[in-house]
Amino acid sequence: MPERLVSGLRGIGHRVVDGIWRLGYASRFFLLTLLRSTTAFRRFGLTVREIYFTGVLSLIIIIVSGLFVGMVLGLQGYETLQKYGSSEAVGTLVALSLTRELGPVVAALLFASRAGSAMTAEIGLMKATEQISAMEMMAVDPIARVIGPRFWGGVISMPLLAAMFSAVGVFGGYLITVVVIGVDAGAFWSQMQSAVDFRQDIVNGVIKSVVFGIAVTAIALFEGYDAPPTAEGVSGATTRTVVTSSLAILGLDFVLTAFMFTGI
């Protein structure tokens, strides 16, 4: 029995030490990415190319999802608000929900599963096929040439996608509540205009999406760079990217919301 206990404790210890080591390695990787980011800005074409792959190619899923989320919000909001005789406030509800929470969070979750997983798989396969080693042997720093532009491409894309998600969501809410149900268009827009504060709602939403963009892109790139160079290694890393990014988004959202909107 004591032997099993010791073995169990040793196993836990190993996992804790491994976890701390990996966290340290990830932090070092993140710092190196920031320090060697000059290439991403000096040769901005490389970053623009990544904005295309992570941002532009994610537009379809973001727009379609935003539209549906906005329409559902409109339906649910109208259903609830009309019981209290304030169905005109549905525009406010849709806009605040999207700019403060759903826009940044859902767009980031979609970004993690669409662009994040693609980034991890791409970097992991580059490693497995020795493309990263070849680059190092050609005296080209892969952190500066491959990781940096992808990181900044993701960080720039994320708030733009979140803004797009929120805008299309508001339009979806308008379609359902004003065009289909018949809520007064003037009330819908004017209540929204008076209730949504630029600094409190829009800017905070943008800050959230930037933070999520940093988290998702850093996780995706690290997982790809650290992936064992095998088929199982790359598939495991891709799965970890989606799971870790999703949890990070939800955790960070709670922390940011606590600071931004409740004054903790």
Binding site: M126, E130, Q131, A134, M137, M138, A139, V140, R145
Partner: protein, 268 residues
């Protein structure tokens, strides 16, 4: 003759597992030298030490007089601009065309105008016979073509030292012959020095000047191709002539055959 690469008393371990043991080796400038041995004997590790991708646990690795062990990243990258390495399966950048793969280093390390880069890339591709494939993507190339494009990429900045990591693996006989001829011809044309890591004996012995044989992390013998062919050392003889049994037994060590068949203490 001056040595371009000098390896002196090099030991290397992954954690506590020794991989290379007291390696001493020299590669004269202008020669094609081969390092042969079984898979896992430490050949590729040695190549990575020469390229500075790994640092020895003890000993010295010098390239063109520069001690590779002590270089920081900038120094290492400065040295690597004078080296080229052909990876086992080419390691072409899959998102770039053949032309862009060959132009990659020129664009990264020089300020040459694009029309000059175009001419240089055409010359490199012409040298490996693939000028007509300049617009193709790596996924469209056969294994032999990919290896030739990778060779053209290696030559991009006219390196003084070219390292080949298993350049013949997975190639058909024609492609293998083409690659081996190119290695020999390009080494002479560029005035470069080449190190080939391989276990393809017959193809390699046709083109190299000197051979080092490695086994279990140590150099066990060395000589010219003729000396290697005529060697009576049991390990070299078994390796060169592909004999099934010898110092390296056919059977991996294990329990008695009879015991594995459940015959108790019957015949072994």
């Amino acid at each position: 003759m001056e040595n371009l690469v000098e390896i002196k008393d090099v030991n290397f371990s992954y954690d506590v597992r020794p991989v290379l043991k007291r390696i001493n080796m020299t590669v004269p400038r202008g020669k094609v030298v081969c390092i042969m041995g079984l898979s896992g004997c430490g050949k590729t590790t040695l190549l990575r030490l020469i390229g500075g991708a790994l640092r020895p646990t003890s000993g010295e690795v010098r390239v063109a007089g520069t001690l590779m062990n002590d270089l920081d990243q900038d120094g290492l990258y400065e040295m690597r601009r004078k080296m080229g390495m052909l990876f086992q399966f080419g390691a072409l950048f899959t998102d770039l065309s053949v032309f862009d793969n060959v132009a990659f280093q020129m664009r990264e390390h020089t300020d040459l105008p694009e029309d000059m880069i175009h001419d240089l890339v055409m010359m490199k591709l012409n040298a490996v016979g693939l000028r007509g494939a300049q617009h193709m993507m790596p996924a469209e190339l056969s294994g032999g073509m990919a290896r030739r494009v990778a060779l053209a990429r290696v030559l991009a900045l006219d390196p003084m030292l070219i390292m080949y990591d298993e350049p013949f693996t997975g190639l058909d006989p024609i492609s293998m012959g083409v690659i081996s001829e190119l290695i020999r011809q390009l080494n002479a044309a560029l005035g470069a020095t080449s190190i080939i890591v391989t276990h393809d004996v017959q193809e390699t012995l046709k083109i190299v000047d000197y051979v080092y044989f490695m086994s279990d992390g140590a150099v066990v013998t060395a000589g010219t191709p003729d000396e290697i062919r005529n060697s009576t050392a049991p390990f070299v003889h078994q390796f060169v002539w592909g004999e099934m049994d010898g110092p390296l037994p056919f059977h991996y060590p294990g329990s008695a055959y009879a015991a594995d068949l459940g015959l108790g203490d019957a015949r072994a």
